[in-house]
Symmetry: D2
Subunit: 344 residues, 4 copies
């Protein structure tokens, strides 16, 4: 059955598997100290236009959020996030597991407004009692957000300015970064992101890799003895090559951006299909995730021919569902979806 369930339903981009196979029997040092990891880091620093950056590879998104946030926060600090942020809702409390609070603030379609952030922090410091409260020690945003929306360059600049004024880092969860950067609505370049963020990551898992996220510390701010901090969180991969080779491949010949672009093209086509059928969007995003409102009977019938994912109840007779495209979405998949929609 054709599936738009998520952007991690397939394995890896074939080029990645080809490279893993090609290098398979080379004897390499473990724990990320191998040649391919080194080369991948250099490529990433270059594409970020940030030669002073420090790059580290981790395995998955929740792990990356947890390791980065908990190793950068001070004892008495928490991390500010949108109430819909992945760290707030769908990571089973991974940040709290490390002892730190997620300070949840209001959002619009998954985005934190710069003013909301500024007021929150201002109010904190204005409160005479704030020594009894969790200090805001970092700001977490996702690009694209959990709703597929994008911050404008202007918004990012303002968020970044608030953070710098308060001397706290701005952390960008880029689990789907490629799909953001390649969106027609994106007015931001990767080097601009690297300049505005203090730390961010380039998602591999959802953008062509078997697993892997590349963390970029942009301001010479990688925590001291980071490898040890990674190890004690159970996040250090013995065969670091698995991450190094994948990112080395993704950042060769523009592959990461090319496959991201493809997913966006597929998303645009998918949106068109829904519009053609007169279906209602809960949120029509400029990236690879689309949120559609289906009448419940319709949903049940569609489910028999196409896989997608439940998002939330809309009302008693309707449901919000999510369709995701990815690097692995094919034209044939869209054709099958079109047919299924026409048969509803």
């Amino acid at each position: 059955m054709v599936s738009f369930e998520s952007d991690y339903i397939a394995g890896a981009h074939p080029e990645i598997l080809r490279r893993l196979t090609e290098t398979n029997l080379e004897a390499l040092t473990g724990y990320g100290a191998d040649f391919y990891s080194e080369r991948a880091k250099e490529k990433i620093k270059k594409v970020c236009g940030c030669p002073e950056a420090e790059v580290e590879f981790l395995v998955g998104g929740t792990q990356t959020n947890s390791v980065v946030i908990s190793s950068m926060l001070k004892d008495y600090e928490g991390v500010i996030a949108a109430r819909t942020g992945h760290v707030s809702t769908h990571e089973a409390g991974a940040i709290e597991f490390t002892g730190h609070k997620v300070l949840e603030i209001p959002h619009t379609d998954g985005k934190i407004a710069p003013d909301t952030l500024k007021n929150y922090i201002d109010d904190f410091y204005a409160d005479g009692n704030h020594e009894h409260m969790v200090f805001p020690g970092m700001v977490y945003i996702s690009y694209p957000t959990e709703y597929g929306t994008l911050y404008t360059k202007k918004e990012l600049k303002e968020l970044s300015a608030v953070c710098r004024f308060r001397h706290i880092p701005l952390f960008v969860d880029g689990a789907r970064l490629g799909y953001g950067l390649m969106s027609p609505d994106c007015d931001l370049t990767l080097p601009e992101l690297a300049e505005l963020a203090d730390v961010f990551y380039i998602g591999g898992t959802k953008v062509g890799a078997l697993c892997g996220e590349a963390v970029v510390f942009t301001k010479q701010n990688k925590p001291c003895h980071f490898l040890t901090s990674v190890k004690r969180r159970g996040a250090l991969l013995a065969k670091g090559r698995l991450l190094g080779i994948q990112f080395d491949t993704l950042f060769s010949d523009d592959l990461y951006f090319e496959i991201s672009r493809h997913a966006i093209k597929m998303a645009e086509a998918l949106k068109k299909l829904f519009h053609e059928q007169g279906m209602h969007f809960y949120l029509e995003s400029p990236t690879n995730q689309q949120f559609i409102i289906l009448e419940n009977g319709q949903m049940e019938r569609l489910k028999e021919r196409v896989a997608f994912s439940f998002w939330e109840k809309y009302d008693d007779s309707h449901t919000v569902v999510r369709f995701a495209t990815s690097w692995s979405t094919r034209k044939e998949d869209l054709a099958a979806l079109k047919e299924a929609l026409e048969m509803l």
Copy 2:
């Protein structure tokens, strides 16, 4: 340069890469709920002779130790381990990171004597003050140990008996399990291990996989909502297929045992080479890791032609070094080593 540096210097057994490639574009559900993960679990339960077992896949060894130990211990408990246990020394405090103490006890060549264990726990409960101390809540051993040594079946039975008398689980770190089970000195079968241990894992990372450890809860004792506990520790892989397909392959056609057997054969040949050169063993193990005492000048010269790893200082003019074989060790590697040793 030929390398005996560790048992994770190469990628994966070629059959694993072949299967990853073959299944690459199949659309599969994430987080371990895919067909291959399910099938691999069934195969493992079968080979363990333990149909009631519950199997879960995790990414690496330290992560597995940390997740299993911290999700099974009660609030007021710690885990007993040999002072040389991997959890005691080389995991950067990953157990303590989860809030629990490693209760370190004496060992012989990496092994805990059943009497040492019994006395430790007896003394704990005899101490009138024990409510002020960390309760022993689990026993951690490794098979083979960090020194490549093996517990006899009798020793394991006795350790297991102590644990059952005290109603605490016996946890066996099997990061190199295959190399233990296939050792000529092993008097234990996998089903016997499954019977004696309450939880153990079958190491993939060091035995042919790119990554992955298969945890086996043998007594219907998997912690409730284990997936959530895994997630909040940042240890849940989105593309669970990566683990499922690898273990499905390793437990097809006896592959796991066949490649383990090969590593042991290579280790036996390697030991012979050192003996032929009249070199001294610090510890000649029955498994895939050998500890040799080299005169420092000798060590420096050998280093130029062969990679191996530093273990510890022996005396002012000698050093203990480790040579490891693995599923990927080739006859040519041994020939190169032989030549290098003869030239010393």
Copy 3:
């Protein structure tokens, strides 16, 4: 200067100091195993009408919240609290420090509506993705709330029913319990509270003691080896007598209730003073804390003669301030306040 800054500005009720002095040189066993602690526990069980209760003494409120919540939650659970709950806002992340999330939900004047609670938990279990989320494992409410408001018996019954249906404990923070129970608006007895709550505490610090909170586990649900859990959180007092003697005194001759009643009487008189001056209440509570809106100039002038506490900015020219009465408030204090108000 006369002070209404908080309900912990004075030392202890004189009778407590008298008893501490009287028993001072008796040789008593440490860590709460003394005669007075035992007797105090019996008295508390009796006044709660709950002979099967288990009572434990801790030092302060944040400590009690942290110890009780973290020792009762399971690994994968968090605690539900009002967004204004003390554990959510003013304990510097003490719950998160223990690894658990505070699941913040909406409130009205500090109270959680039973329906809000029910819907939150229903939605959690309806979410197909909930294994990736923090499980609701406890409900925390305060009585009186941080705004001095009180749940009705009916509301408490409904909250309790939701908890029981979901098999999660209802925990009542009673840091100011006496001031709630003695309020004219209270329609609840202590035995009724003990029946509806699974665990609650009787605040000492704010109701006449130097320090101390008495935790009551009402359903034979005290965590196993609780003393050890208390110790490892650094919360076990060597001289447990300090807590035992204080609670023994507070629960002799109805003292706890008598001094609570006095504070409420003083609060009623205080409210009358503000009304007489035509001042505006932000929230006129039925307990010992009153929230008044002052024009900023007024506030500055009043500050010179009376101590009170800043609560929050109301608008550009007004501020919300808090006046608290307690067991130690005297008629003379009110007279001085009256005079100060009249001079504004």
Copy 4:
């Protein structure tokens, strides 16, 4: 029955209760910002000869160890302690609860030899694998030790030198500091201790207070926002006056030293009694704790007339028991002990 069970069997020195009573109804600001706490801090800085010191009050010993150690260690660090250290054995894993490992090293009669420390740290940094290990980030010693023994000034200087060479703080647990400083064997002054230690505490609980430990950060090294770190560990006392007034009293008129001196005088007399009866010492300490070997029958008979504490089994027919004197030990207690010993 006369008791030598511990040094916390009595309440507080009468002068402390007198002062608590005298100041009882003064309205004071909470959380340690009161006048008495401030004055006590100044007195302590003066008596330590360390005007740049920062002093903070906490409630008990385990809490102090846990708060100080966990707020000073970096993410990747643990604390070195003797295998017999209180933090290693009798605090129920309070350090590990905060996520950090206690790195246990060998001892002699409770003391760490400077060479043992130096070698341990040297070996750590010499190990090529040390990034996979817990970094030594602090050294914890107790003065007097858990066995009542004392470091010489020379030993302390050497331990301090090792720490400074490695840029890690030396932390001295002074739960019984007075009994150490007033011992005839002590060749150290309090200002010298303040100079050699980076942080230490002056125990109140065991030296005349109801509760309370005064932490002294001697090198302008108090962790940033320490109050918030204390609060999130549930260790901040609302009525900080309880600690402030006690320490203000203890450091008035030389009281702390006078009552410590008394306890030592009593201990010397107690030792004489045992010698007169020809009894065997397991460890005859220069401070207030004495460890005696009793034949088991003897022990049972003595128990009927005198309270003391079990330490450990000596052999099948003998037991090591502990007798402690304190500020509250009276001549009559010794007379009763003498009589009981003579009747054995």
